[in-house]
């Protein structure tokens, strides 16, 4: 199993690498297009600001590569958001893999949402052996609206898409690598896809 974590300069990828290491998988950090294409599985991480992360992707040409990947790809947090059509954060276009826009929470709630919230309406192999209303760790100010491609929802201000899937592309707003045993199960499920 060759697992590549896309390293394009956005955010804390060490935690993801360590989480897979705890599952016995040595993930490779890379921004090399051939290496990413040839991987069995790809993680697309991201923490930080959307428009600047998108710029970094463009600089390396990865914005054109990621949507053409055919192996299972998992976007985490900002990674998932960048896989959507657009983001209100820095008013940037996304990779357009998921047909949904990223919006900001209103000031009716505290922003960012920070902490553990539940995931519901689970409908994907990504959630095999994960119970409805399991807790996941989230830190985010922007969210994907509930949509056709939602495979899980979380409620904060509104019920939003906390995980998305289209074909071989998966995305989670929450951090499975920081979500205890239940999060590890999701990473295991991704490896088994």
């Amino acid at each position: 199993m060759k697992l590549v974590i896309i390293d394009y300069g956005a955010g804390n990828i060490k935690s993801i690498q360590f989480a897979f290491k705890r599952l016995g998988i040595d993930a490779v950090l890379s921004n090399n297009i051939d290496e990413i294409r040839n991987a069995d599985k790809v993680i697309f991480p991201g923490v930080g600001e959307a428009s600047s992360a998108m710029e970094m992707l463009k600089k390396s040409g990865l914005d054109l590569v990621i949507p053409t990947l055919t192996q299972p790809v998992l976007g985490i947090c900002l990674g998932m958001q960048l896989m959507c059509n657009s983001s209100e954060e820095g008013n940037t276009k996304g990779l357009g893999i998921f047909n949904v826009a990223i919006k900001r929470f209103s000031n009716e709630v505290k922003v960012p949402q920070m902490g553990w919230n539940t995931i519901s309406n689970l409908k994907s192999d990504l959630f095999k052996d994960v119970e409805e209303r399991e807790f996941m760790y989230l830190v985010h100010s922007f969210y994907a609206e509930n949509c056709k491609e939602a495979i899980a929802t979380t409620t904060y201000e509104t019920a939003y898409a906390t995980a998305l899937q289209k074909d071989n592309f998966y995305g989670t707003q929450f951090h499975p690598e920081k979500s205890g045993i239940a999060g590890e199960q999701i990473l295991k499920n991704f490896l088994a896809l």
């Binding site: 955010g11 060490k14 360590f18 930080g48 960012p112 920070m114 985010h140």
Partner: protein, 251 residues
């Protein structure tokens, strides 16, 4: 529903836990990794590591500890103590810290909050504020409460929020160490006037104090040290009681 967080705080010196920790069945109570794993298993929602003797010389030791914690612990953690530069934060995040907390360095140079949140995102920037109530006014203090500033707690908190802080860790010097409860009036005011999460710190002594800070103090998270380290309040029992009192927690 977003749950209220319970956060044990571990004081670190030269990569080792210092404040007395009295867990049963621990092989090495001074090993932050062992403790962190134990807390994660007990249901702690996050951890805070405070480097209480941070110097330039021992920075490497702390980074090494952060790396080891990140390798083995599957819940988020924050590192604080002696952080005043972008380079230092970059190194801590690259070692796997999820958030960093700054205190005096933000008071000395408030632009640091802007710089860190722009470079790394607000989500990883916690601003810790120590304040003391003097003649009815909450005054920000530095260096563990020993140095007084001119800053008012609420003004300063609003300023760092504007500058991009993702979260406030408020320690009441009046309550810290008293085990008589959190400074809920000030916490509620912070929580109402700001729109970022507020972590309550200082004063935890019994379960009711946690209930009070979540209800009356409107806190988003509660941090404590000795009541957890000495097993006075076991985290599973605490969370169970919080739940029985209709406070949303992760169980």
């Amino acid at each position: 529903m977003l749950t209220k967080r319970i956060i044990p705080c571990l004081d670190i010196k030269n990569g080792r836990t210092v404040k007395g920790v009295n867990f049963v069945n621990l092989i090495d109570a001074g090993d932050p990794v062992v403790l962190a794993k134990q807390y994660a298993e007990l249901g702690a929602d996050e951890l805070v590591f405070l480097d209480i003797a941070a110097t330039l010389e021992n920075r490497g030791t702390t980074l090494d500890m952060v790396l080891k914690v990140a390798e083995q612990v599957n819940i988020p953690f924050t590192v604080g103590g002696g952080i005043s530069s972008i380079e230092h934060v970059d190194a801590l995040l690259k070692c796997g810290a999820d958030k960093i907390s700054i205190n005096s360095s933000a008071v000395k140079r408030p632009e640091l909050v802007n710089e860190l949140s722009q470079k790394f995102g607000s989500q990883c920037v916690v601003v810790a504020i120590d304040a003391k109530k003097i003649d009815g006014e909450w005054i920000v203090h530095l260096a563990g409460g020993t140095i007084s500033t001119e800053l008012n707690l609420f003004d300063w908190a609003k300023e760092v929020e504007k500058r991009g802080a993702g979260e406030i860790l408020f320690t009441s010097m009046n309550n810290d160490g008293t085990k008589a409860g959190f400074a809920n009036e000030a916490l509620a005011k912070l929580s109402t006037e700001l729109n970022i999460p507020i972590i309550a710190s200082g004063g935890a002594g019994k379960v009711q104090h946690f209930i009070d800070t979540f209800v009356d103090g409107k806190s988003d998270a509660a941090l404590a040290a000795s009541v957890f380290h000495f097993g006075e309040i076991p985290i599973p029992d605490l969370k169970k009681e919080l739940k029985e009192n209709n406070i949303p927690v992760r169980l």
